[in-house]
């Protein structure tokens, strides 16, 4: 994901990118924001809130299957690219964040992305 200019104050370094192998995810605690989940899918990186929008549960304790993260509590599903809720009982989207790798370090912009399309589609299970 491209780094945007002018967001430096919200930039947080999360350590070595190598700590998250392909196909895996990890939660990071960010001061003032809470838990952010970072996903490594193929050669791409994505970040969302770690807390499910349906009930209180950590998404990184669930399952990552392709671009879909599945909540361990009620099996609600989200697209990690857009934060869109994909499956009952999840109906509300979760926030996404810019995340990228620079010099082997994982960097995240803690200002949420503006995802205009996240309410648009009807939920469906994969």
């Amino acid at each position: 994901m491209e780094k945007e200019e002018g967001m430096v104050s919200n930039l947080v370094e999360l350590g070595e990118a190598s700590q998250i192998p392909k196909g895996e995810m990890k939660a990071f605690s960010i001061d003032g924001l809470g838990e952010i989940a970072v996903y490594h899918v193929d050669d791409e990186w994505f970040a969302t809130d770690d807390v499910c929008s349906h009930a209180v549960a950590s998404l990184t304790e669930g399952w990552l299957e392709g671009f879909t993260v599945i909540c361990p509590a009620h099996s609600g599903e989200f697209d990690v690219r857009s934060g869109k809720a994909l499956c009952f009982p999840a109906t509300e989207p979760i926030s996404t964040y810019q995340v990228w790798v620079e010099g082997g370090k994982l960097l995240v912009n803690t200002t949420p992305n503006k995802n205009d399309d996240t309410h648009a589609s009807s939920p469906q299970c994969q």
Partner: protein
Amino acid sequence: MVETFQRENNRAASDLDFHQLVDVEAGWIDRRIFWNADIYQLELERIFARCWCFVGHESQFTEPGDFLTTHIGQDAVIVAKDRKGEVNVFLNSCTHRGNRVCFAEAGTARQFTCNFHGWAFGLDGGLVSIHEEEHYSACANFDKSKLGLHRARTQSYKGLIFATFDPEAPSLDEYLGDYRYYLDVLLDNDPGGTEFLEGNVKSRLRSNWKFAAENFVGDAYHAGWTHASAAEAIFGRGVKVNPEKSFQASVNGHGTEFGLDLIGNAMALGEPEVVDYLKENEARFAERLGKLRAKMVGAMSSANVFPNLAYLPGLNTWRTWLPKGAHEIELNTWVLVNRDAPKSLKEAYRRGISRTFSPTGMFESDDGENWEHCTHSNAGVVTRRQKLHYGLGLDSAIDHEEFPGKIHRVQLNDANQRAFYKRWADLMSASDWSSLDNN
């Protein structure tokens, strides 16, 4: 006319004298044990809710989330591998209203969520979450850690997974005892171990479960008559028992009847590759099993692990007799092969078993009809008063220098059936495991 030694009356089943119903010393059995619904209910309590029951083979659980559903007695259970690699067995019934939480026969799951109120259980049966959980915050007796699906104890023996709901039951090793010597004939004749070929066949028979179990535990006698035409079609000759080199062995109600002929049963598959494999590998088997026991692989034989796991050491078919009432069973069958065997050999076993011991197989269809009529003739109240003869081989016990357990000479014998019913009567009579002898 044979006199009735225990007339039917209105006493509770738990008050019956099971050692009188099953008179193994004299070799007579009261037919009510195959018919009476109260006796059957007591079997579910005192046999199936106590014993180590077979629930699956480790090869059926390769990845976390792999699961299957089956029954222990009539208790529906889920068998699932969790993320730590442990295989767990727990009731398939939600702790909230009792609904079934898994309807599939097998598959891969992340968790098991009840359709009714969304209570979700993990791969170890623990309650992970519920719908609208915040509404339970003030509920004093709502403790998620105590609301998981009721778990069974689970232990394995060389790939076979067993479970028991009885916390007092002895360990699986103790339960199987010296019968492990005979299980190893198939489970440990090759260093790579065994696997179940994918898939199983389910069928229903209108038989009491014990007729199926006793048939496999010791009934070589029926083979030459019941299976004469099928044997003629496959071998071109009938079934002959060798009186000098055939035996029955029993341990704790488990039993096998066997010859020492290496290929006697395997020939019935009608697959030359299987017979060639056994002949070519006899020396290898002997390295692991000893010369004598190596002759049991593929031999004319049958076996039942108490209460309801059965197999044919010569045909590699494994099956459970799941009780569905006093007069019905669900038969589940699998094909067991050595994991490192050639693919063509595995397919030969699969084909051969389909031909012989599937619902339409030449041998299985012979047996099923007999067991159904053995069961349903007892609908007649006068018929039910007539005890059945189990006296063959009462004087045939021997000591054997190698074979463990209780040994009788000549596989054509009722000795193992009597041992099976003695164990049955012991369990039906005993209030707990500590009052049971292992023998």
